[in-house]
């Protein structure tokens, strides 16, 4: 009974098209807005039009009397519901109470004031217009630096200095670094407010069943289990009687790594009315009330030797927090401090983070969350230093990189980088783009009066969030592998992918480990009644952490399958191998994985000390973050007449560790780069001094469109991470982090002949033109 076992082709590492796509390309996927239930009611929310205002009175009588309106609730009705939760903590952190509907005062434009529940969304919207509020507007403050100034209006009257926290971190000996310095370069660098704008806005359906004391909530979230725990707490329900479903989620980028007032509010309404209720956020609400990203003002000082050796970096970071803390708001700028040193080996840092309340929607995690700001800071400062001492930007980077033999590398900020060969990645990028040739071309271009720039960023990031002590609400991940009697495999991941493609990449891993066809594996996620407790999707963690949990669960399945196989083949446990879907003994006799699965459930042949069934669950806690890195190079040209920037070439060489599916990796990178270029060139969430969000629709908030994006050339070096068994690092945020400094460095390089040394984002054509005007005036004067 010797069988020939055909070697199966490994799926990991292959460009495999996604298993999730058929439903998405045929219009048959179910997003929250597509959820329909009998007797479903619809909610619409009245929001503050003022940046800061007292509510003198609210009259809901006209709204309540409108035919079709079922109920209207205001702040007075919801006091039994818990306030919005912030999971982050810092010593001395001031935490304002954030009720799910405003009480006697509103703190930002869009602040929820009342909810109208009606038979359809049209009537609900009409009802909102009929609520009369007697507002008493007060002076708002939206600029974080102005908010810190003496005499500024207090966002929260109890804290007149508008300061939520001050966080200090020191590494090494900064005084010595500055004493030893031959050059010090200083710059104020702004990372502007950004609006995440996933194409699907937020939405919630809540369905309370009184008889069961059970609540089902569909919500567009990246963290179904955490959201369930928090919502159960807010609503006073048993956690096991709350089922939270993140159905198809139309993008998040961090903005859905949160639990918002509307989620508990819909739960409250459903419980009050004993009917299911739906709320779908409008785009305008999304702009005004879903978290924003960035909002940094950084004062940076870099100390160095004339030969380019960096000695230290000093940072004063003013973080615009907005009016409240959402789930992670105060933690985000602390990540910037951790990534301050970038890829460089200097030993001294000092940082002070000042968290500032403003009359604006809270900032929180947006793709990269803290790390793009840090990378932008160090990569800009390195370029400015290079310019100051007349050194090539590539050379100064080589001079300061942590060496490939330095790993694990303990940084000045206290992190231990896992693995890397930074010089090799930059080598590859410089070679691919013909850096030497480009510099020669630039000399020629400048001679012809053209403004050509070459910008390099060698970024690093921490991702694969993360060790639990360093990740609010936990940083582990879970996976269950359930092999059915037929041998078909169901994977349940605690991650909550929403576009990243883990239904495919996790199936690839499972198929390889178990030797089953890809089509035999399905991956479930996002439903707390189906999936074991998990953390969710953020911080480029799905593969590095969720994939690792899956890997270990698969090993448990393999071990058990081998024991069943050995028993079926009549040999000892250790005498079989499981490969290519077969369990084979030393004589070449084998049983298939499917036969083993059948036997495991039939229960007649049970290995000693084992038990029927073939299911394994693992919770995996990473010992460290993972640290991807890369080199992005942008060649640009500035139109002298208009200031418009043209990207001539975009090259990304990234080292994200081992790659499960290159097709998905390309997609993540391209998307990340688009968001980075969006920040560098166009996007800006602008509040005026009175708290109005003036870039409040797609008319004024410039999202990258197809015609604005360059072609992205991409390559990789591969340095596996030793932190997880897959050797994966993470790619979700790499493009966003690497791109902004490359873009700004490129344009600053283009304008260097005019004496330009720094430009804040977004580098709009008008801003560049103005800069050229001012520079040329200076030139003429000089």
């Amino acid at each position: 009974m010797t069988t020939t076992v055909t070697k199966l082709e490994k799926l990991v590492g292959k460009r495999i098209k996604r298993k999730e796509d058929p439903r998405l390309i045929t219009g048959t996927a179910t997003y929250v807005e597509d959820v329909k239930l009998p007797e479903l009611l619809h909610a619409a929310i009245l929001r503050s039009p003022h940046g800061a205002a007292n509510i003198k009175s609210i009259d809901i009588s006209k709204a309540a009397a409108l035919p079709g309106v079922v109920a209207v609730y205001t702040g007075a009705d919801i006091l039994g519901v818990g306030s919005v939760v912030c999971a982050a903590d810092l010593p001395g952190l001031r935490k304002p109470v954030h009720h799910i509907l405003a009480q006697d005062r509103t703190y930002f434009v869009g602040h929820a004031v009342a909810v109208v529940v009606a038979k359809d969304r049209y009537v609900a919207a009409d009802g909102v217009d009929l609520i009369e509020v007697d507002w008493q507007p007060t002076q708002a403050v939206t600029d974080p630096e102005k908010a810190l100034a003496a005499g500024a209006p207090a966002v929260h009257p109890e804290w007149p200095d508008n300061t939520a926290f001050i966080h200090n971190q020191e590494g090494g000996d900064m005084a010595q670094a500055f004493a030893d310095a031959e050059v010090v370069v200083k710059q104020r660098i702004v990372s502007q407010r950004l609006i995440p704008n996933p194409m699907e806005t937020r939405g919630v359906v809540a369905d309370w069943k009184q008889a069961d004391k059970a609540m089902t909530i569909w919500t567009s979230t990246q963290i179904p289990h955490l959201a369930r725990s928090i919502l159960a707490g807010q609503l006073g329900l048993d956690e096991n009687r709350v089922r939270l479903i993140a159905p198809e989620v139309g993008g998040g980028f961090g903005s859905k790594l949160n639990v918002y007032p509307e989620e508990a509010l819909m739960g409250f309404v459903s419980m009050k009315l004993q009917k299911p209720v739906k709320w779908i956020e409008s785009r305008r609400e999304n702009f005004q009330t879903t978290i924003h990203g960035r909002g940094h003002v950084d004062y940076l000082e870099i100390a160095a030797k004339r030969d380019g050796t960096i000695l230290g970096l000093k940072l004063k970071l003013i973080q615009d927090l907005g009016a409240y803390h959402q789930l992670l708001t105060p933690a985000i700028p602390t990540l910037s401090v951790l990534m301050m040193p970038g890829l460089y080996k200097f030993r001294n840092i000092s940082a002070q983070v000042i968290g500032v309340f403003t009359n604006a929607v809270p900032t929180d995690a947006y793709r990269g969350a803290g790390r793009p700001e840090a990378t932008h800071g160090i990569e800009r400062m390195v370029d400015m230093l290079a310019a100051e001492i007349g050194m090539d930007p590539a050379e100064i980077r080589y001079k300061n990189f942590a060496g490939k033999d330095d790993f694990p590398f303990l940084t000045a900020a206290g992190l231990t980088y896992d693995s890397g060969d930074y010089a090799a990645t930059l080598d590859k990028a410089l070679e691919m783009i013909d850096y030497k040739g480009l510099r020669e071309q630039q000399v020629q271009a400048r001679a012809e009066g053209k403004l050509m720039g070459i910008g390099i960023s060698t970024y690093g990031e921490l991702c694969g969030f993360g060790p639990s002590p360093a990740t609010p609400a936990g940083g582990w991940e879970s996976a269950t592998v359930k092999v059915e009697p037929s041998g078909k495999v169901t994977v349940m991941t605690g991650c909550s992918p929403h576009g990243q493609g883990q239904e495919t990449s996790f199936a690839q891993i499972a198929a390889d480990e178990l030797g089953v066809p890809l089509d035999d594996v399905i991956v479930l996620h996002g439903d707390t009644s189906i999936v074991q407790y998990g953390i969710g999707t953020f911080g480029s963690r799905n593969t590095a952490v969720g994939g690792a949990a899956l890997f270990y669960a698969l090993q448990d399945i393999r071990e058990k399958a081998k024991r069943f196989g050995a028993k079926m083949l009549g040999v000892e446990d250790g005498e079989v191998v499981l490969a290519d879907g077969h369990c084979t003994d030393s004589n070449g006799n084998s049983v298939t994985f499917q036969q083993i699965a059948g036997a495991a459930y039939r229960g007649i042949v049970i290995p000693t000390g084992s038990e029927p069934g073939l299911v394994a669950t693992r919770f995996w806690e990473p010992s460290n973050f993972a640290y991807p890195y890369g080199a992005h190079i942008i060649v640009s040209e500035v139109d002298k007449e208009t200031g418009q920037i043209e990207i001539k070439r975009y090259l990304a060489v990234d080292d994200i560790g081992n790659i499960i599916n290159p097709l998905l990796v390309d997609g993540q990178l391209h998307g990340g780069v688009a968001q980075g270029l969006g920040q560098a060139l166009w996007e800006h969430g602008v509040y005026d001094d009175d708290g109005q969000l003036v870039s409040g629709t797609f008319m004024d908030y410039a999202m990258p469109r197809a015609r604005m994006m360059p072609w992205i050339e991409s390559a990789h070096t591969i340095t596996p991470s030793p932190v997880n068994p897959l050797g994966a690092k993470g790619v979700g945020e790499a493009g966003t982090i690497g791109s902004t400094p490359a873009m700004v460095n490129s344009v600053v390089d283009a304008l260097a002949p005019l004496g330009v040394r720094h430009i804040d984002m977004p580098m709009t054509a008008g801003k560049i033109w103005k800069l050229m005007q001012d520079s040329s005036i200076q030139e003429k004067k000089a």
Partner: protein, 155 residues
């Protein structure tokens, strides 16, 4: 209320609607075709793109009453009745031209119009053609590839 008669994906429908009902809400909530998505309210994201009488339009910027008598095609009507995907759907799948999938129905519908008017577009023409459709996930590069692949397939 007004009565409208429309053909959607080859099926005839007649309903009484409020004049203010948007065509997208009619398709999603009255007929029950939820493949078409609403991504903004300023007619700038294109997620709601469908075909009305052979022309790509944004169904969030049309009242259902304006479509009275029209022939409408939505993403659900692209695949053959036996489930065989339209070449554009195949191309989006093959090229990994979607991630979260929310903008995808609109992208696919505008791709159809781009290729009907220009069967062999350049990269520049593709990008210009996609100007009314926002995608926040892909950076558009794979979408450009998908349009090219669909063009090669003669979509």
């Amino acid at each position: 209320m007004r009565t409208i008669n429309v053909s959607v994906n080859g099926k005839q429908y007649s309903h009484e609607v409020e004049p203010r009902m948007l065509l997208i809400h009619y398709l999603r909530e009255v007929i029950g075709l939820t493949g078409t998505h609403m991504g903004c309210e300023t007619s700038l994201c294109g997620a709601c793109t469908i075909e009305v009488d052979g022309k790509a339009v944004k169904s969030c910027t049309m009242f259902a009453v304006q479509a009275d008598g029209a022939k409408i095609l939505t993403v659900e009507g692209l695949a053959a009745p036996d489930g065989t995907l339209h070449p554009i759907q195949e191309a989006y799948w093959t090229e990994h031209a979607l991630q979260c999938g929310f903008c995808t129905p609109g992208m696919i519908m505008i791709t159809k119009q781009i290729l009907e008017r220009n069967p062999n577009p350049t990269e520049h023409e593709i990008r210009e053609g996609l100007d009314g459709n926002l995608c926040r996930c892909t950076g558009y590069q794979h979408i450009v590839n998908a349009v090219r692949t669909a063009a090669k397939a003669g979509a």
